[in-house]
């Protein structure tokens, strides 16, 4: 076992270094000077290089996860938002990717009640895309797997969907905004628009982001929780035709990885 608490001087030294990284104000001049062999203001400026590197690394990781958000708000405002986020959400991982998950919820609180509340919804969709792209893809099964189930047992049948599936339902047209910002060049304006419902999934080598009608989304959402076909229809207050459309689409797009016959059979 390695020593988890090595000699105190190293721990104290790193705490002191961290304090200088935290405090860009004048108060840490003495601290910086106690660490650095070069005395005076230069000591502070030299440790400032590390502060700047750390900030940039965090911002770059968020920019990678939230490219559409950055494009919509512009570099300056994105920088301001990520700086504020970092102050309340210090990184807890050596993997920068882990630090972006709380950003949508933070944005929601930060922008609540403003005209920009929808940006938090956009961020929610972008994180769903990010998560889908980091999940394992399993081999899909075809519609033939469903055809093997006797008609009488279909009500009690359920599905197992790709582990990468992420569902986002928003009162704002987030899919349209996201889609419009995928290409190069200026993004077209989105005029009005109501709620949109999205499914993100990684199959083979790409993340696909679908927009679904409300009824289909409700059925898919129930199925993703393991509901039987009958329960999914009931939960979504939907019709059999909706379920049929969702099933056709889900099998065709490789979303279904297993068909579970009735447990009562």
């Amino acid at each position: 076992m390695p020593p988890d608490r090595p000699d105190a001087p190293l721990l104290a030294w790193q705490r002191c270094f961290a304090a200088v990284l935290h405090e860009p104000g004048r108060g840490d001049l003495a601290l910086a000077s106690s660490l650095v062999a070069t005395q005076g203001a230069d000591a502070h400026a030299r440790i400032g290089v590390y502060r700047n590197n750390s900030l940039q690394a965090r911002r770059a990781a968020l920019a990678l996860a939230y490219p559409v958000l950055q494009r919509r708000v512009g570099d300056d405002y994105f920088r301001q938002l990520t700086h504020e986020y970092r102050l309340t959400h210090p990184s807890r991982s050596g993997d920068l990717h882990d630090g972006g998950g709380a950003f949508p919820a933070w944005l929601q609180e930060r922008l609540a009640g403003t005209d920009y509340a929808w940006l938090a919804e956009l961020a929610r969709l972008e994180w769903a895309v990010e998560e889908a792209g980091a999940a394992a893809a399993r081999a899909p099964v075809s519609l033939a797997a469903l055809a093997a189930i006797p008609a009488a047992a279909l009500d009690d049948t359920s599905l197992q969907l790709q582990p990468s599936l992420r569902l986002v339902s928003s009162p704002f047209p987030v899919w349209s905004v996201w889609q419009a910002n995928q290409g190069e060049g200026p993004a077209p304006a989105i005029d009005g628009g109501g709620p949109e419902h999205c499914a993100c999934v990684c199959t083979a080598d790409r993340v696909a982001v679908y927009r679904l009608a409300a009824a289909e989304y409700a059925v898919l959402e129930a199925l993703s929780r393991g509901a039987t076909f009958a329960a999914a229809l009931e939960a979504a207050r939907s019709e059999a035709a909706t379920l049929a459309r969702v099933l056709d689409w889900a099998f065709a797009e490789g979303l279904v990885v297993a068909v579970n016959p009735s447990v009562r059979a």
């Binding site: 076992m1 390695p2 020593p3 988890d4 608490r5 090595p6 000699d7 001087p9 190293l10 721990l11 030294w13 790193q14 705490r15 270094f17 961290a18 990284l21 106690s34 660490l35 650095v36 062999a37 070069t38 203001a41 230069d42 000591a43 502070h44 400026a45 030299r46 440790i47 400032g48 290089v49 590390y50 590197n53 750390s54 690394a57 965090r58 990781a61 210090p90 990184s91 807890r92 991982s93 050596g94 993997d95 920068l96 990717h97 630090g99 889908a132 792209g133 980091a134 999940a135 394992a136 893809a137 582990p163 990468s164 990684c202 080598d205 790409r206 993340v207």
Partner: protein, 291 residues
């Protein structure tokens, strides 16, 4: 299934003593489609931590086509905090999945009291730091069941607590942990400018057999306080002074697998491969002279 002994699933393809390039997401598609003639690839371990997805699929395929090195940036082995066991487990999973010939990390710290700074932070060169870092490296090597390489850091300040030279510090960690070294020649160049490192002394102090990989990269100049510092930003071509130090390193350490690193303003892959050809040519020239 048929195959040669060299294609054994347990034996990774060894990295040749030639120049390879850092694998960056911008070049994924080109690598998969065209299989450009890179001698070997190095990937940042943390970028391939996921359970799946497109990036993981790309590296799985490329690991079969090219000799591979995994280079970690997030373990922070010099951190006084307890070792991040979850991060280490993910490194082990990546090593099992991609089967790299080399695995490396940095002689740095990254976190304290649970807060990560996601930057390669410098250590004071003290006896305590040697002991601590060597113990952590031993732990990681035991956990992974293999040797790792430790990379020398670029620094922007010299520290009052320091008692050893950079070379003495690294050599002591090698001696007490059995790790190898990844010598970043650009970092040595940056340190010579920023804190007056004596590069010839550094090279002389490092045990020759320990140096199993070299990094080459570009840096930039920035006004910091009253000084102009070199910033190790990996954002440009390898500059002349780094090529000159590379020649010195080759004379001392012989031909070693060498990597062209480029992380900001990443150019077309052909530019990276051109830098790798330049490194190969210099290595042939220097090592032929030395022979």
């Amino acid at each position: 299934m048929t195959g040669t002994a060299a294609a054994s699933p347990l034996a990774p393809r060894p990295i040749p003593a030639r120049a390879g390039v850092g694998l960056r997401a911008q070049h994924h598609v080109q690598f998969v489609r065209e299989r450009p003639p890179a001698a070997w690839l190095e990937a940042h371990t943390e970028n391939y931590f996921h359970d799946g997805g497109p990036a993981v699929g790309v590296l799985e395929r490329l690991a079969e086509a090219y000799p591979l090195s995994l280079h970690g940036v997030g373990l922070g082995l010099g951190s006084a905090d307890p070792i991040d066991r979850e991060h280490l487990r993910r490194v082990r999973d990546a090593v099992r999945r991609y089967r790299p010939a080399l695995v490396s990390e940095h002689a740095c710290w990254t976190h304290v009291d649970g807060e990560h700074f996601n930057d390669l932070l410098p250590l004071p060169y003290t006896e305590e730091a040697v002991e601590h870092l060597a113990a952590r490296v031993r732990h990681v090597q035991d956990f992974l069941g293999r040797q790792i390489l430790l990379e020398n850091l670029s620094v922007y300040a010299a520290f009052a607590a320091t008692r050893l030279s950079e070379g003495e510090f690294l050599a002591a960690v090698v001696e007490r942990s059995g790790c190898g070294l990844l010598l970043d020649v650009n970092n040595a160049c940056v340190n010579a400018h920023n804190v007056g490192l004596d590069v010839a002394r550094l090279f002389a102090e490092l045990p020759v057999a320990a140096v199993q990989e070299i990094h080459l990269a570009g840096h930039t100049r920035r006004r910091v306080g009253t000084q102009e510092l070199l910033i190790d930003d990996h954002g440009s071509a390898v500059p002349d002074e780094v090529w000159a130090l590379y020649a010195q390193a080759l004379r001392r350490f012989g031909p070693v697998p060498t990597l062209i690193e480029w992380d900001n303003d990443i150019p077309a892959l052909e530019v990276l491969l051109g830098e790798a050809r330049k490194a190969d040519a210099l290595s042939r020239e220097v090592c032929a002279d030395a022979a």
